[in-house]
């Protein structure tokens, strides 16, 4: 992308203007813009600033999860456990914060102060991340299997704690604050700010830090990375912990927004996070992709689903539309990259 002026004499001619990642990101962004304009033609009142904002803000949870998932994909690993962790941390935060001595089992908790309750819930979420890392890194079990297992484990624990229902009574007043806090007298809520800040940090880490570069090296060739002195075990462990921490915070914020702990919350979010990463050009084999691309992947998915519900189609069509969008996007990217590198 940025080629400074001190490039060698023999190397200056015919140099690439743009990396493949920048190219794909630009492609995804153009598709997102194109789709938005196209939908604006078809759907009345679609072309509005508020609508544009809503496309992003309504998806703050999945986009946040997509950050951790994207980093792991780039390193060559899956994380399917994030949806389960969202449920688990939300349920735990409610359970820990509920007062003791409620009318029945579902309204009786641990009576912790709110800050302690969310810290412990976050700890529970990161324990799942640590479990992922343990099995993937130490026992060398394929990450898709490990995280499929921990996905069910996390949701299973949430189910047991909520007795298959939800916990929403006997909560302190401050429980509902974080998820519904609006900032600067606007309708922008704290979770959206959380997502935005997280995105900025992630882009910085990805583009500007050694940590980000290590992720690409490990994903591009794990054997060469090890033989180049990279401690890939430690790095992948960090990535799983970060991903689970993000999922934990998302779960806590969602529980706060709805003032309830619900074991089915975040169902299929792990797949949505995976889908937006792939839509955004992250390579499923690792070593390639960007967080910005993932963000625009989320925008594409949001436009497709919201435009459909704004049109004559019933919301039942959204999965089929998603499927078409995914196939088209991935075929286009493969084709465009192959053409470019021919």
């Amino acid at each position: 992308m940025t080629v400074s002026a001190n490039i060698g004499r023999t190397l200056s001619d015919d140099r690439r203007q743009m990396s493949d990642e920048a190219f794909i990101t630009l492609l995804v962004a153009s598709v997102a813009v194109g789709l938005f304009l196209f939908a604006s033609l078809l759907v009345p009142n679609f072309f509005q600033l508020l609508n544009m904002l809503n496309l992003v803000t309504n998806n703050w949870a999945v986009i946040s999860l997509g950050i951790g998932v994207s980093f792991l994909l780039v390193s060559g690993n899956f994380d399917l456990s994030v949806g389960g962790i969202v449920a688990l941390s939300g349920v735990l935060s409610v359970w820990f914060a509920q007062a003791t001595g409620g009318a029945n089992a579902l309204s009786t908790g641990w009576g912790m102060p709110y800050w302690l309750a969310i810290s412990c819930a976050l700890g529970g979420a990161m324990a799942i991340g640590a479990l992922n890392a343990l099995f993937v890194v130490r026992f060398r079990i394929p990450s898709i299997i490990v995280t499929l297992g921990t996905m069910m484990l996390a949701r299973g624990i949430a189910q047991v704690v909520t007795h298959g229902s939800q916990r929403n009574t006997n909560l302190p007043d401050e429980f509902g604050v974080l998820g519904n806090l609006t900032l600067f007298d606007t309708s922008v809520k704290l979770p959206v700010i959380f997502m935005a800040v997280l995105l900025l940090i992630a882009v910085f880490i990805e583009r500007k830090t050694v940590f980000g570069r290590l992720t690409y090296w490990i994903g591009a060739n794990p054997i060469a990375a090890s033989l180049s002195g990279i401690d890939k075990e430690r790095h992948v462990t960090y990535l799983y912990l970060f991903s689970s921490a993000i999922a934990g915070i998302v779960g806590i914020l969602l529980a706060s927004e709805f003032k309830s702990g619900y074991s089915n919350r975040g169902t299929l979010m792990e797949f949505d996070a995976l889908v937006i990463a792939l839509l955004g050009g992250v390579a499923i084999a690792g070593g390639f992709g960007s967080v910005v691309g993932m963000f625009f992947g989320a925008v594409i998915l949001a436009i497709v689903t919201s435009a459909a519900t704004g049109m004559v189609l019933s919301p039942d069509w959204q999965y089929i539309l998603k499927a078409i969008a995914v196939f088209l996007a991935i075929v286009t990217q493969t084709w465009a990259l192959a053409r470019r590198n021919r």
């Binding site: 570069r213 090296w217 060469a224 002195g229 990279i230 070593g287 390639f288 021919r342």
Partner: protein
């Protein structure tokens, strides 16, 4: 220059392939005579691979034409090429380890009825073909139990029994030991007797003189000459055609070796190695020479901490243990045996490959120093003469010699005091080889130590000051290089004979 071929099986006319900004193959015309072993030589980047890809249908020519047995030939994909009677033996083997030899030979040719396999005379036919080519391979053996050379022979037999009359072999001996090479050559000669044409690509010029009937030389995408090998006056002429200058490897005693020990290994033992002890001095180039499987790679990996081994390794007076990370921190760097799978990040650019082994120089409190990366890339591309139009070029698109230079650049950027080079010039053309040898000598003259692990005698005799001879995991002998060194004795030791047996 082109000879009049009375019986051409394959001919190309004015073949050209353009890539954006590069003409990889430039107006090449030559013919290959039926029943010949036709060698294709040229430095890396000369256009050999591109030419082969067009012959096998993997790439389409920009212009020009090809013909097989006099009729036009325009393969759209590798299957078309096979149907046209042209089979290819790639460097990567395409055999299924879990199946038997026979099952591999008939793979894709099975007949079935209602989904069940039925027995045909196919089995007998391929068994006969295999027996004619290499009788020592048992058709019922599981392929995973065979050596690399035997697997190659299976692929050749499969090509021959599928009716191919031209077999293209892309560096078939790159991974073979000298004894296995002889066996492969016997197979190729038998193919020639049965009038199969072999297009043979190799960097090892001795093989070409041993085996070839005719040779085509490419340089910078252009056709230089097609000649019968009996008309070629030895290596010097061939090398001159390939690179336009003469290169000879001769060891001259180096004066800058100190007697200060930089590394001392005692009693290295693991599943391959048996009680290996040696030392390396500062400024010295040592060679480890032996057949494939003798333990060269294992010693390199043990010194680098990539494999576990009992025994002690002292580096600069300190015990080194454990991991590549610690080895690099102590000042040891490794150029691994397989550059594509172990050394390079092939999907990343030259710029992104070079700095990986020295994160301390790259990091400014964790922030990536893009300027350091940029400067290092430009610096090493110029210093090591890496042929590329841009430092942002993906390394998978570089030729073998240039890829190897990128791996070397990685290690040089690590500022190591001891470089372990495992097969540093495997699959590298003559020109790049010479350059790599010069780099190694310059490094040693600057006070670094270099260990070269090689299965090419010419290589260790050309550059190493001391040579350790390995056989079956043991360090059998140590030879000080010089004009009086006895090559036949060395070959005797590494093939299992004892020191001094040969008169």
């Amino acid at each position: 220059m082109t000879d009049q071929n009375p019986n051409p099986v394959l001919s190309v006319q004015e073949l050209t392939k353009d890539y954006p900004g590069v003409r990889a193959v430039d107006n090449v015309s030559f013919t290959i005579q039926s029943g010949h072993v036709h060698c294709l030589v040229g430095e890396n980047g000369a256009g050999k691979s591109t030419l082969v890809k067009m012959l096998t249908g993997a790439l389409r020519p920009t212009s020009g034409s090809m013909s097989v047995n006099g009729s036009a030939y325009q393969p759209d994909n590798p299957q078309d090429a096979r149907d046209g009677g042209i089979a290819t033996l790639f460097q990567e083997l395409h055999v299924v380890d879990e199946l038997t030899v026979l099952e591999n030979l008939t793979l894709g040719m099975e007949r079935s009825r209602f989904g069940f396999l039925i027995k045909t005379d196919l089995d007998d036919r391929v068994v006969q073909t295999l027996a004619a080519i290499e009788p020592s391979i048992d058709p019922a053996a599981r392929v995973s139990t065979l050596s690399v050379a035997q697997k190659q022979i299976i692929e050749i037999a499969r090509a021959a029994s599928s009716g191919a009359n031209v077999i293209i072999m892309d560096e078939p001996t790159a991974a073979l030991s000298e004894r296995e090479v002889e066996r492969l050559f016997a197979v190729i000669r038998r193919l020639r007797e049965s009038n199969v044409t072999v297009v043979y690509i190799s960097h090892k010029l001795d093989e070409i003189f041993q085996l070839g009937d005719a040779v085509t030389v490419l340089r910078d995408g252009k056709h230089i000459a097609t000649k019968n090998l009996c008309d070629v006056e030895g290596r010097p002429e061939l090398i001159e055609m390939m690179i336009g200058r003469s290169v000879f490897q001769d060891y001259t005693a180096r004066t800058k070796i100190s007697d200060q020990k930089v590394l001392q290994a005692e009693g290295l033992t693991n599943r391959v190695l048996r009680d290996v002890s040696f030392h390396i001095n500062k400024g010295e180039i040592v060679g480890f020479y032996g057949l494939v499987g003798a333990g060269k790679t294992e010693i390199a990996r043990a010194l680098f901490g990539a494999d576990k081994a009992e025994g002690t390794i002292q580096f600069k007076g300190r015990q080194v243990t454990g991991s590549p990370k610690q080895a690099i921190a102590a000042g040891i760097a490794l150029v691994p045996e397989e550059r594509r799978t172990q050394g390079l990040f092939t999907s990343l650019s030259i710029r992104e490959n070079i700095p990986v082994m020295n994160l301390r120089r790259l990091s400014n409190n964790g922030v990536f120093r893009a300027d350091v990366e940029q400067d290092a890339a430009v610096d090493y591309v110029n210093r090591l003469n890496i042929a590329t139009e841009s430092i942002d070029k993906h390394t998978e698109k570089l030729s073998g010699g240039n890829q190897q230079k990128v791996v070397l650049a990685k290690c040089l950027f690590a500022d190591a005091d001891l470089l372990l080079l495992d097969e540093p010039t495997r699959g590298v053309d003559v020109g790049a080889k010479t350059e790599i040898y010069d780099i190694i000598r310059n490094l040693a003259d600057a006070g670094n130590s270099v260990a070269v692990f090689s299965s090419e005698l010419e290589e260790v005799l050309g550059i190493c000051d001391r040579i350790f001879l390995l056989y079956d995991g043991r360090l059998e002998a140590e030879v000080v290089n010089g004009t009086d060194v006895d090559a036949s004795n060395i070959l005797n030791v590494v093939t299992g004979g004892h020191v001094g047996d040969v008169q």
